[in-house]
């Protein structure tokens, strides 16, 4: 089935990004200054991990409310291990990633083996993980972050490309390869599309659900660790405001919430759109409180368009059939 270029998930968001950059760049040239681009890319790098973490769960037709709580827990574990135990940062980062993986696995096992909706399970674990975070830190940040980590979180390796863009690009490519080329990825989408049919065609639905949640936990932890470098602090509040963004970017990128259909490129562009809109509010001195409103409107707009495309595709299919 050949597709025309504008029928791709990423085409609409790409158009928005290009037009937005052109308009904002023309109105305010400082938007395209290397420094501003660096700031923009830093925000995109971290937010893309958050969005991918939710996207993989949307792919199986579920939701993960605990993305932020896992990210926050990994972040303070990363900061705490370095400050309190003096563990070198690569090992601390590895252990924090492992923690995220375990937290995601726990979600997956609970959802897969109880059959209770992922919404309730992850609402419960959200609260449990956040409570552990607050219990350990007593709401105080870890301040002593090694200089290397701070540098990696803020500096560039090739002006204006920040170090943080590297893990982001690597993860994006790996996810694209997983979802489009590997049997595992196709199984993930199959489970999201029709769980019963997937089961009948020999896919272990439980295994897939657990794998997807584990990947989600891992990516959330990665986002948390990157944010520690970026903020130069092991903040207990990391992750508190991820929920809206984590859903906004995938749906802007054309993901269908009932599962089976996500786009890595679309999600990435969704993150870029959110980052550009947020920057515009800052550049033009518009009230930063409006960021929340913009995010909410973006979600409604995106799900509206996705719904419209879905209905049109159905009608088209019916016409072909008759």
């Amino acid at each position: 089935m050949s597709r025309r270029i504008w029928e791709n998930d990423w085409f609409g968001p790409l158009l928005v990004v290009v037009v937005a950059v052109a308009i904002v760049g023309a109105l305010n040239p400082s938007f395209l200054s290397p420094f501003n681009i660096q700031i923009l890319l830093l925000a995109i790098s971290v937010n893309a991990m958050i969005a991918f973490s939710q996207m993989i769960i949307i792919a199986i037709g579920q939701m993960n409310l605990s993305v932020g709580a896992i990210g926050g827990l990994a972040a303070i574990a990363f900061g705490g291990m370095m400050e309190v135990w003096g563990i070198p940062w690569p090992i601390a980062a590895f252990l924090a990633l492992a923690l995220g993986l375990v937290a995601g696995l726990a979600n997956g096992v609970l959802v897969a083996f109880t059959g209770i909706s992922a919404f309730v399970i992850t609402l419960a674990t959200l609260s449990a993980y956040k409570g552990v975070n607050l219990g350990i830190t007593e709401a105080q940040p870890f301040y002593e972050i090694p200089a290397t980590v701070k540098a990696l979180g803020n500096e560039t390796f090739l002006h204006p490309l920040p170090w943080l863009i590297i893990p982001c690009v690597v993860v994006a490519l790996l996810l694209w390869y997983l979802l489009n080329r590997l049997p595992l990825g196709r199984s993930i989408l199959a489970v999201g599309g029709n769980e019963h049919a997937a089961e009948l065609s020999g896919i272990s639905v439980r295994g897939i659900v657990i794998t997807a949640h584990a990947v989600s936990g891992l990516l959330a932890a990665l986002a948390g660790i990157m944010l520690v470098g970026r903020l130069q602090l092991g903040q207990p509040t990391i992750g508190d405001d991820w929920l809206i963004l984590s859903f906004a970017a995938p749906v802007i990128g054309g993901a269908i919430l009932s599962g089976g259909h996500v786009s890595v490129a679309g999600t990435f562009l969704g993150v870029a759109i959110v980052a550009i809109f947020t920057q515009v509010l800052v550049l033009f001195n518009i009230d930063p409180f409006l960021v929340q409103v913009v995010l909410g409107v973006l979600i409604l707009w995106a799900v509206g368009i996705n719904r419209f495309r879905e209905v049109r595709a159905q009608r088209h299919a019916e016409q072909v059939a008759t």
């Binding site: 109880t114 219990g135 009230d287 409107v297």
Partner: protein, 346 residues
């Protein structure tokens, strides 16, 4: 001959009757509401043994006052869950309604009953807006209320400049601080009244039955002439009003309308909102509610929070226990249900 037969059938009837009354008893003992009552009594005993301060007059009064708000938050989510949907924006609506009430009192100098009515009307309007968008778009309430949660809260913060309204009528704040018989808060009485009204709605009125039918099976409800879309919109509107009541109660208790009283985006209300109905046996797939169960569930959660704080487990860990409690509750419910099904009791 006939006598014997009659006697025998009488005996059989007697046995059957005894069996069925045993089954009724078993069903009652395995019901959510009874389980919750047992847990409430059990934990009350534990907490009062460990810390005698738990039964002090002030502690009981504070418990009732906090429970009153949590019960309203639980009801606010319950009336949406019964349609098979959910409402993530309860916190955002509750705070918006409370802030609007505060605005009417402080900036427009309206007498407090009018201002409160205005706040509740705001809650109803925002809830109805949710309902209309959901029905018109045909999308799941999760993503719609996620978006409106962000929009409502963002607009509220933008308009209020994140500042509180402190000029609240003393009569109204007096209501939130009043003590009846030294231990009962009037707020708790309001919650009981609302619970009674909701019970009547779902048990005895056509409107309530139609709402439940919509949640149980939308297609069947539609075929039997129920205006399904209207019912879903009504449920969301009711949810908005109840969230507004919870917000207004908080204003009455703290003496100010504070934008951060439900946390960032009103997210702090989400856990209590789901804990009450889920513990109380409301089906997440819709079609069944237990008003008493939600009432008791929310009360139990408040009691556990208060008790854990008194036992000095550390305020920061309480959230973890509440999360684990929700997990435990849904798992227990799963086992209870499968047991009842196996014994053919439901």
């Amino acid at each position: 001959m006939t006598d014997i037969r009659q006697e025998r059938s009488g005996a059989i009837g007697h046995v059957e009757q005894r069996q069925s009354s045993r089954l009724t008893l078993l069903r009652l003992l395995l019901s959510n509401e009874f389980g919750l009552l047992v847990l409430i009594v059990l934990f009350a005993l534990i907490f009062s043994t460990v810390s005698p301060a738990f039964l002090s007059k002030f502690s009981l009064y504070a418990l009732g006052r906090t429970a009153a708000v949590n019960i309203m938050i639980g009801f606010s989510m319950m009336v949406v869950i019964l349609t098979g949907g959910l409402n993530l924006s309860v916190g955002a609506i509750g705070v918006s309604a409370a802030m609007f009430g505060g605005l009417l009192m402080e900036a427009f100098g309206l007498p407090w009953p009018l201002a409160i009515a205005g706040g509740l009307a705001m809650g109803a309007a925002l809830g109805a807006l949710n309902g209309v968008i959901i029905v018109r778009s045909g999308l799941h309430s999760f993503i719609i209320t996620l978006a409106t949660m962000s929009i409502f809260f963002g607009v509220m913060i933008f308009l209020t400049r994140a500042e509180s309204y402190r000029d609240i009528s003393p009569v109204f704040t007096g209501f939130g601080r009043m003590k009846l018989f030294a231990i009962v808060s009037p707020l708790l009485i309001v919650s009981v009244l609302v619970a009674v009204l909701l019970s009547v709605l779902f048990r005895y009125t056509a409107l309530g039955r139609e709402m439940l039918a919509t949640g149980a099976n939308e297609r069947a409800a539609e075929l039997s002439g129920i205006r399904v879309n209207r019912m879903i919109t009504y449920c969301h509107m009711l949810s908005g009003i109840l969230a507004g009541v919870a917000g207004v109660m908080l204003v009455s208790r703290t003496g100010a309308a504070i934008p951060s009283m439900a946390g960032q985006l009103g997210q702090d209300w989400l856990l209590p909102a789901f804990l009450g109905p889920v513990l109380g046996g409301t089906l997440l797939t819709g079609g069944r509610v237990s008003v008493l169960g939600t009432f008791l569930g929310s009360f139990l959660v408040t009691m556990l929070t208060t008790g854990l704080l008194l036992m000095q487990v550390g305020a920061f860990w309480v959230q973890t226990y509440l999360g684990l409690l929700l997990l435990l509750a849904v798992l227990l419910d799963l086992f209870r249900r499968s047991y009842l099904t196996r014994r053919k009791l439901i």
